[in-house]
């Protein structure tokens, strides 16, 4: 599976490790992203978002539990654990229970192809990017199962909106990612990243390598907001209209799992945009003469640091947008997707192809 000898050394070593028949190494490879999602959702996802949104609105945010409210999320988790796990009597029990699971699995499966540094990736598929775009569509099934199974008009409306939105926005998102794939000439996530590595740091990134790369970059970013149901595209869970959208009826740990799935896919799209346009785990610092900043800040650990930092940066931008823009109307949402993003994505696709041929 791995194509270059220095790539994926850690994950390859781990996957070869097993106790008897039990492939413990493979389990650990899967557990690492899972633990990462949980930790990041706890700290940066929930606490960070509450603080960032508070600061953007001149508020203080959680302040009571621990120093500057740092333990607030733990208190919330304890509360969620104690809550009664309600399944409405009129709900479709099977779909209701299975919905959050599918939702989380859908966002988690994409983590298999995210390279956490040059030495670690769940599975270095040669169709990694395609897999990541495709597997996320499973989330749609989970959302529809949750919304339909709840037997609640708000939930069903939220689910229907969400499905329409995610399916529509997959088209500009995929075309925008295709531009990056064209620039790299491969669909493997590791190879796309390797193509953007070099001694000049950020100068090798696709975003700065191509005069029109900013267009697919922007289009993918906007579409990824819609795919993760984040504001300003959060009409599936529009609080003022639909209570909470497709998870209106959920409580306790099922609610927490849905939230975890949302934060998981937030990081997933942020990591994909970082890999496709901003060089994934490569260091942004260039080598300046004898000062070899790029060489110093490369390597397996630095790689993990850079990809996570790039992901966090885009999550910050997502939060920033969320607390700036009001929610779109449904027709505006579809207008933006079909009449603005899709044509521009096609244009950028053609221009990228021309650039790649004649540069």
């Amino acid at each position: 599976m791995s194509s270059s000898p220095s790539l994926n050394t850690w994950s390859d070593a781990l996957s070869g490790f097993s106790i008897g028949w039990f492939p413990l190494g493979l389990v650990i490879v899967a557990v690492i992203p899972l633990v990462f999602i949980a930790l990041y959702a706890l700290t940066y996802g929930v606490y960070g978002e509450r603080k960032i949104s508070a600061f953007m609105q001149d508020r203080l945010g959680p302040m009571e539990v621990g120093f500057w409210g740092i333990l607030q999320t733990l208190a919330d988790i304890l509360k969620l654990l104690q809550k009664e796990d309600i399944v409405p009597t009129a709900a479709d029990k099977f779909l209701f229970v299975v919905g959050p699971g599918i939702l989380f699995v859908g966002s988690f499966l994409a983590f298999a192809v995210l390279p956490f540094g040059p030495a670690f990736i769940g599975a270095d598929l040669n169709v990694g990017l395609f897999y990541a775009v495709g597997i996320v569509a499973i989330e749609v099934v989970g959302i529809l199962a949750a919304g339909w199974g709840s037997n609640n008009k708000w939930a069903l409306y939220g689910a229907v909106r969400s499905v329409a939105q995610i399916v529509s926005y997959e088209i500009p998102a995929s075309i925008a990612l295709l531009c990056a794939a064209m620039m790299a000439g491969t669909l493997s996530m590791q190879q796309i990243t390797v193509m953007q590595a070099g001694p000049n740091g950020f100068m090798h990134w696709f975003l700065f390598n191509n005069p029109i790369a900013w267009l697919p970059f922007l289009i993918y970013f906007i579409s990824s907001l819609a795919e993760t149901n984040r504001a300003p595209f959060d009409i599936p869970e529009a609080e003022s209209e639909l209570v909470a959208g497709y998870f209106t009826e959920y409580s306790g740990m099922k609610f927490a799992v849905i939230f975890l799935a949302e934060y998981g896919s937030m990081f997933m799209v942020s990591a994909i945009i970082a890999i496709a346009f901003l060089g994934g785990w490569t260091s942004p610092l260039p080598n300046i003469g004898g000062l070899e900043l790029n060489t110093m800040t490369s390597g397996p650990v630095w790689g993990a640091f850079w990809i996570i930092m790039k992901g966090f940066f885009f999550i910050f931008v997502q939060m920033w947008l969320r607390w700036t823009l009001p929610r779109l109307r449904v027709d505006q949402l579809m207008y933006l997707c079909w009449k603005v993003l899709t044509p521009f994505a096609l244009i950028s696709f053609v221009l990228t192809a021309v650039w790649e041929i004649y540069r």
Binding site: I52, F55, D58, L60, W320, T324, K339
Partner: protein, 216 residues
């Protein structure tokens, strides 16, 4: 077509402007917004920044002329019960006992120099009901009932919202009541002994003493 592109342009510029504003506020979060009041000349020139007040820990002082919690200075109360009658929500409950002549000195005078003629064993204000309209304050002849600047008097138990201002304990009140009854009985007896319309006179006198003002 030109409208299509101008829409995109407007969208982009407005989003950029909005995001710039949000980011400015985000970085201003290291500062606290000044606490100048609306009557300050610099109110609109204060720095941007956090404006949350962590209430129990930080408090904007209420103005000294604030009218919030009702307070009765019972030493000045003459037991006229005007406030009780004026209150639109009936949050004041008063009970009075007429002072016997030998107790007048003990009962004392108000700060305005007026002789008090009533013991006030019960002066209860249900602050949970009080709507701070201030009518009781305006009718009080000795200005002993007024709203204070204390604004936060929340309680965990609603029964604690009942404020007792009466100046006699239960035992004392019972003693005063007994003393008054004895004196009245004495006076009635003396009247009867003096002769002349013995049955007619004591009765109208006794009635207002039992229910001093409220009966009217």
């Amino acid at each position: 077509m030109s409208e299509y592109f101008s829409n995109i342009k407007t969208g982009t510029t407005t989003i950029a402007t909005g995001m710039a504003i949000t980011l400015k506020h985000f970085f201003n979060a290291v500062k606290r917004k000044g606490d100048a009041g609306i009557d300050d000349a610099d109110y609109f020139r204060q720095v941007d920044g956090l404006c949350t007040l962590q209430y129990p820990k930080e408090v904007i002082p209420t103005p000294p002329h604030g009218r919030y919690r009702l307070y009765c200075n019972i030493d000045d109360c003459i037991g006229c019960r005007q406030c009780e009658r004026a209150c639109p929500v009936e949050c004041i409950a008063i009970e009075t006992i007429k002072t016997t002549n030998d107790d007048l000195a003990v009962c004392g005078k108000t700060s305005g120099g007026q002789q008090k003629r009533m013991w006030v064993p019960l002066f209860d204000i249900d602050t949970a009901k009080c709507m701070t309209c201030g009518i009781c304050q305006s009718v009080c002849p000795t200005d002993c009932l007024y709203h204070t600047a204390v604004a936060d008097f929340s309680e965990f138990d609603v029964r604690n919202m009942m404020y007792h201002f009466g100046n006699l304990s239960k035992i004392e009140a019972e003693a005063k009541r007994k003393k008054l009854a004895e004196q009245q009985a004495q006076a009635a007896k003396e009247k009867a002994a003096a002769g002349g319309a013995p049955a007619a006179k004591p009765a109208p006198k006794a009635a207002p003493q039992q229910k001093p003002d409220g009966a009217e």
